[in-house]
């Protein structure tokens, strides 16, 4: 597979739990050597016919699903406006809401941990696992856990981690990385999954004969892990400040099992993922699943408010099941850096993935090509925002600024505006390519001097006309050769507009 070979060592073969996300770390290292690495990944992706077919089908369906769901939603615009105001208001008062949230969560018995960096966050989770004597952890999908490279940290400490979201489970078996924040294995076909289950898990031919069979096999395999695990790790879609609750949505039910069966639950919360009240949550939830997949509701919307309730003295006893301990790790990892910048609007994001599904660039190259944890339009702002533009200067350039993302964002984030800010910053910090910076300066110098502009225009016109054949140029010089790699270029007209226009105007005036 062209995808997996570009991501480091082949996976080990001793069962579902033994894979590290070393592959992920390797790709992070790759991204440091910006420049050609990005374009190489793009070329690899563009050459992969199966990937492009899969991308086209998946994003097409998800985008169409979203369109249908929104067309059928009576108050869609009002809800989006409200969701935007809710998220904007929350971010604008983020310190207050974080204080309120943690106070309420602690009151109910949650343990709150704070982490400034990715490494701190990973270390914290490892410490909790070690303190509880955990040797096996189950995980429900969390992009934040990818950000902090949690699986690698846990496995280095001798703690096995099993991904339980079906797509993430496959990704883990393959030693791969998710390529879409909602549909992690959009880049894999059923034959790939069948082969993985047979090779790594000893599945029989019958057990992988159909997609339902493979799903049943995964269910059976993972059920044991849920029961044996001492710790469940999850992300959080949104936390509710006034109740101290965590909202976690899934379709598969692995979110429920992960946060119910193991005795210890650790929830990873990006510090910007809050809303003030449950009524506010209700507004965002009306938009979240519709934006992500076109479903009116995800199958399971979980609100977790504290660990399992204990006997409260006077009444009928504690709850029969649930985790005894609930730890919430609140993670910064560059979010305050984003917050204090002109890019702060990106923090309104609720991670629905709608922007990926409509992005004409993402639809061509897929998630891995971007090289970071978050791909597509959202990733092109978040990656430079949290890890620095010096590492990710190319991502904001990888957009035609068509605006399709802004059109579908449930909280109306103006991603093209933010990409332009990043591009301007790249120019200021000399991170844009030399030919671009010098070329634009030269163009501006010419274009603001009408006499020189006309002179140069004339020259280029005559040159072009001389070289053109049948009104077209098939080769352009310098960086412009990139155009003629795949396109002809129209030859300049014999006369410029002003050269045609002036005589006509003069004639009109004479006759007037």
């Amino acid at each position: 597979m062209s995808e997996s070979t570009s991501h480091g060592p082949a996976a080990r073969t001793d069962g579902p739990t033994a894979h590290s996300h070393g592959a992920a770390a390797h790709s992070h290292a790759e991204a440091h050597t910006a420049g050609t690495a990005f374009h190489t990944r793009i070329d690899t992706a563009l050459a992969d016919g199966k990937l492009r077919q899969a991308l086209s089908m998946t994003t097409g369906r998800l985008a169409a699903g979203r369109a249908t769901a929104f067309a059928a939603l009576p108050a869609a615009d009002a809800l989006r406006d409200a969701a935007q105001r809710i998220r904007a208001h929350t971010i604008a008062h983020l310190d207050q809401y974080l204080v309120e949230f943690t106070a309420n969560a602690e009151r109910l018995g949650c343990h709150i941990h704070w982490a400034e960096t990715a490494a701190d966050a990973a270390r914290t989770v490892v410490a909790i696992a070690q303190a509880s004597g955990v040797s096996l952890a189950v995980k429900s999908k969390s992009m934040l856990s990818e950000e902090i490279e949690l699986n690698t940290a846990l496995e280095s400490a001798g703690i096995r981690v099993v991904e339980t979201d079906l797509g993430e489970f496959v990704v883990q078996l393959a030693g791969d990385r998710p390529s879409h924040i909602i549909a992690p294995i959009v880049h894999r076909r059923r034959e790939d999954v069948a082969a993985l289950f047979r090779e790594k898990l000893g599945a029989t031919a019958d057990e992988v004969a159909t997609i339902p069979a493979m799903t049943a096999f995964a269910r059976k395999t993972l059920r044991d892990q849920f029961v044996n695990a001492g710790m469940g790790i999850s992300g959080v879609n949104l936390a509710v400040a006034d109740t101290g609750s965590l909202c976690l949505v899934t379709n598969e039910g692995n979110g429920r099992l992960t946060t119910t069966l193991p005795r210890v639950h650790v929830a990873l919360l990006g510090l910007e993922r809050l809303v003030p009240t449950s009524a506010d949550l209700g507004v965002v939830l009306q938009l979240l699943a519709r934006s992500a997949t076109g479903q009116a509701m995800p199958v399971y919307t979980n609100l977790l408010t504290g660990p399992r309730r204990r006997t409260t003295g006077s009444d009928s006893g504690g709850e029969p099941d649930g985790p005894d301990e609930l730890h919430i790790v609140i993670v910064d990892n560059g979010r305050t850096r984003l917050l204090g910048s002109e890019l702060a609007e990106i923090l309104y994001c609720v991670r629905c993935g709608a922007c990926l599904n409509v992005c004409p660039v993402y639809r061509q190259i897929g998630g891995h090509a971007y090289g970071g944890v978050y791909p597509g339009p959202i990733g092109s702002v978040v990656m430079p925002g949290i890890e620095g533009l010096d590492r990710w200067a190319e991502l904001p350039q990888a957009s035609s600024l068509c605006g399709a993302c802004r059109d579908v964002c449930p909280v109306r984030i103006d991603i093209p505006r933010l990409l332009l800010k990043l591009r301007a910053q790249a120019v200021r910090e000399s991170l844009a390519p030399m030919w671009l910076r010098l070329g634009m300066r030269a163009f501006a110098a010419i274009a603001t001097r009408p006499a020189i502009y006309r002179f140069v225009g004339n020259l280029v016109g005559r040159l072009g006309t001389a070289v053109a054949r049948n009104g077209w140029l098939t080769r352009l010089p310098g960086p412009l050769a990139a155009w003629t790699m795949s396109r002809d270029f129209p030859a300049p007209a014999a006369k410029s507009f002003t050269q045609s226009w002036r005589p006509k105007r003069r004639a009109e005036r004479t006759h007037a």
Binding site: S399, S400, A447, T448, S486
Partner: protein
């Protein structure tokens, strides 16, 4: 360059008509934002923005006509250029005008609102992706069986036309102004 353009276009108080969705979007939406902090040009930018029109908007919204008076017999498919579509909200005006000019024979391209891949310098900086997007657009064009592709932006048309020609296609490109002027020629 923005200041220069503002000076030139402020030499007279007349409405400005721009036969390009992206250029009009730049003047109407981006100039005021770019120059928001500029003591002198901030208000000039807003003033210019208030009297700048993309061509089809001027005809339909400004002058109240959906029929420019000429007819063409070319079979057309419409590509909705991104900045006009999403920046200026250009949805109905071009389609109405094209409908009148062709006697209802202008269809929307399949995936007609998907970016063609030009994106300005994007076409050079990200040439491989730009080309991939272009080839998808050309596939849509060929599947529509149309004679010519029409759009409000010369930039998209150069990019699409250049790709069509390189592929040996006979499909032509026309700017909306050419169609509205009754032109049947390339």
């Amino acid at each position: 360059m923005a200041r220069q353009t503002i000076d030139v276009l402020s030499a007279s108080p007349d409405p400005v008509v721009v036969p390009s969705g992206s250029c009009a979007d730049m003047i109407v939406n981006h100039y005021p934002e770019l120059l928001a902090e500029d003591a002198v040009y901030g208000s000039k930018a807003r003033e210019l923005a208030s009297r700048t029109w993309e061509l089809s908007q001027l005809l339909v919204d400004g002058l109240g006509t959906t029929d420019a008076g000429f007819r063409t017999s070319v079979r057309l498919a419409y590509h909705a250029s991104c900045h006009g579509l999403r920046g200026l909200g250009l949805r109905d005006a071009p389609r109405q005008l094209l409908g009148a000019a062709t006697g209802g024979q202008c269809v929307d391209l399949p995936d007609g609102e998907t970016c063609c891949g030009f994106g300005g310098l994007f076409a050079i900086k990200m040439a491989a992706v730009s080309n991939a997007m272009l080839q998808s657009k050309i596939d849509s064009i060929e599947s529509s069986g149309t004679e010519a592709v029409v759009a409000t932006d010369v930039s998209c048309l150069m990019h699409i036309g250049g790709g069509l020609r390189r592929r040996g296609s006979h499909v032509r490109t026309m700017h909306i102004a050419e169609v509205l002027a009754g032109s049947d020629h390339e």
